[in-house]
Symmetry: C2
Subunit: 338 residues, 2 copies
Amino acid sequence: MTIKDVAAYCGVSVSTVSRVLNDHPDVRDDVRERVRAAIRECNFVPNNSARALVSSRSTAIGVVSRGVDNPFLSSLIRVLGREIHQRGYTMVLQQIPTSADEVRAAAELEREKKLLGVIFLGGRFNYTEQELRQLTVPFVCCTYTNTFGDLREDAYSSVSIRDEEEACKAVEHLLSHGHRRIAVLLDDAGDSSIGQLRFQGYKRALEKHGLDYDPGLVALTGAYDMKDAYDGVCALIDGGADFTALMVISDALAMAAMKALTDRGRKVPEDCSVIAIDGLDMTNYTVPTLTTLCQPAAEMARESVDMLTGIIEGTGVHRHKLVETTLREGASVAAPRR
Amino acid sequence: MTIKDVAAYCGVSVSTVSRVLNDHPDVRDDVRERVRAAIRECNFVPNNSARALVSSRSTAIGVVSRGVDNPFLSSLIRVLGREIHQRGYTMVLQQIPTSADEVRAAAELEREKKLLGVIFLGGRFNYTEQELRQLTVPFVCCTYTNTFGDLREDAYSSVSIRDEEEACKAVEHLLSHGHRRIAVLLDDAGDSSIGQLRFQGYKRALEKHGLDYDPGLVALTGAYDMKDAYDGVCALIDGGADFTALMVISDALAMAAMKALTDRGRKVPEDCSVIAIDGLDMTNYTVPTLTTLCQPAAEMARESVDMLTGIIEGTGVHRHKLVETTLREGASVAAPRR
C-alpha cells in the first residue's frame, strides 16, 4: 500500500493525499474526510523519513556502550535512540562488557554497518591517536572525555561532567556532615576509566580538608557490577576498616554497597552514610533513599546526538561540553554518631 | 584500508591474507607472521559479516519495546542485541512509552528501515488480524502472547510465561506462609496487557483456596512506573486496607512498593510480605532481598531471535513457546504476625 494506491482508491491526485497527510489547509473538507477514511481503511502507513527514501545512503549511527547491567547507561541509550530516530538516522546499538575494547567493537561495527558516526558510552579515558585510526568516521564520547589519552581536541567530541570535581564535591558533602573517616568504593582504578578520576577527586577532597589518605579505606570492584561491589564492601568491613561514611562511584554500586552494610549489621545512615554519583530514578526507591549527585543524562544524550549529526551534516565541528551535576538529597547521609 | 591494501603491503595475494585471517593451516609460518604484523601496523579491521557485503540487502530486525524505564526489558534488549548481531543481522531498536501503540510504531519502522522482521517486547495481548495488516514482515511477541486477540496461531510467534498460572503460584507462595489478607499491585487492568492475566491468576489462587476476592485490596498504577506504584501502595494503606502480604506484577514495581510500605511504617516482611514476578539481578540488593519468580530472560530473548531468523531464512515456521519461572527466595516473605 503506497500513497499512489491511496490516491487511486479515492480518485484524487497523489499531491492531494500528500496535502492531507501534512495537514495542509488547501484541501476541500469532503476530500480531506474521504482521504482520511481511506487511509484508515487501508491501514496505510506514511513513510516519515525522507532520508530513508534515498535508499542508497546509510543512515546508521553506532552506539557502543561499555558496561552491561549498568542502569545509568540504559537511561542514556533510551534517549539516544529517540534523538537519533527523530533526526532521521538509525541507531545501531552494541552493548559490550567492561572487559571488552570499545574502539575495536566500533571499528568492526563501522565496517559491517556502514556507520556515519559513533557515540561511545562508558568508555576508557586514555585513547591514543594511533588506536583511533581504526575508526574512519567521527565519534563522540558521551559521559566522559579523553583525559589520559593523546587525542587532539579537534579529533573528537565529548560531553561529560567534571568527574574529579564532582567526586570531590560528594566527599565534601560527607565532610560537611562531620565525617572524617570516609571510605570509597571504586571500580579498579588502574584502567584509566571513570574510577580513576573520581578516586583523584576523593583524595583531593581529603587533602583540601587536611585529612590523610588511608589506602585501607578503599574498596575495589573488579567488574563494575553489583555482586563485586557487594563483595568489596563486605571485605572492607570484614577487614576491620573503620569508617563512618562511604562515597560510591555510581548509584547502582551504591545500592549494592547499602545492602552489604545492612547485611553486616550497619544501619544506613546511622552507622554509615552513603553518597553516590549518577541520580537514577530507581535510587529514589531504595531504603533509605540514596543521596546522590545527578548527572543530566537526557541533556548529555541529546547533546551527543547534536554534536555527531552536526559533524555528519557538515554544520558543526568537534567540541567538548562540560555539564554540572545537581545534588539530590535522599536519606542516606547523616551526621556520624561519634 | 581493505584486505587488498594489506595484500599489496605484504606482497602476497588477497587469498593468502584471507587464509591468515581465517587461521587456515595452509600458509607458511614466515608469511603468516608478516601478514599478521601488517594487520597490526595498519590497524586493519576484517569485516566479520558476510551478509553486510551483500550491500543491497537489508539486515535490519526491528525491536519495538513498550515501556521505558523498565529494567526487565533492558535486560532482554541487551541479549536480543547480542543474538541479532551474532547471526549477522542489525538490531533497530525503538523504545516507546506504555501509552504508545507498538504496532503503529513497528509499521512505521518497517517502512523507514526496511525491516526483515520485528520482535515486540512488553506489548498488548489483544492484537486483531485487521490491525496487524499494517505489518508486512514476520513478528515475534517476546514475553507475552495474543491471549485476548484474534490472530491465527500460524500468523506470529511468541515466547512467554503462563502469566495467569505464575501469578497464581506467587499468591500460593504467600498463602503457604499463612497469609489470608493478600493485596495485589497491578498496572491498570483494563488494557488487556500483562496486568490483566496476572490479576486473573491472583483471583484464581484466592478462589482455589476458598478466599473471597476483595476489590479493596487492589492497588493500581496507571503508568507502570515506580512513582505510580509507590503512590498506589500509599493510597491503599492510607485508605485503611487491611492486608499482611502484597503480590506485585513486576520486580521494579515491587521495589517501589517496599519503599511505600517502609515509608508508611510497615516493615517488610514483619508487617507485610512482598512477592513479585521477573527476577531482576538488582532486586538481589534491595533491603530486604526480594522474593520473586524469575523469568528466564536470556532464554526468552535467544528463542525470539531463533524464531524470527528461522522464518526470515525460510527454515522455520511460526510457533509458540511457553517457558517456566523459578522461585528465587529472598527475605521479603515471612509468616504473618497475627
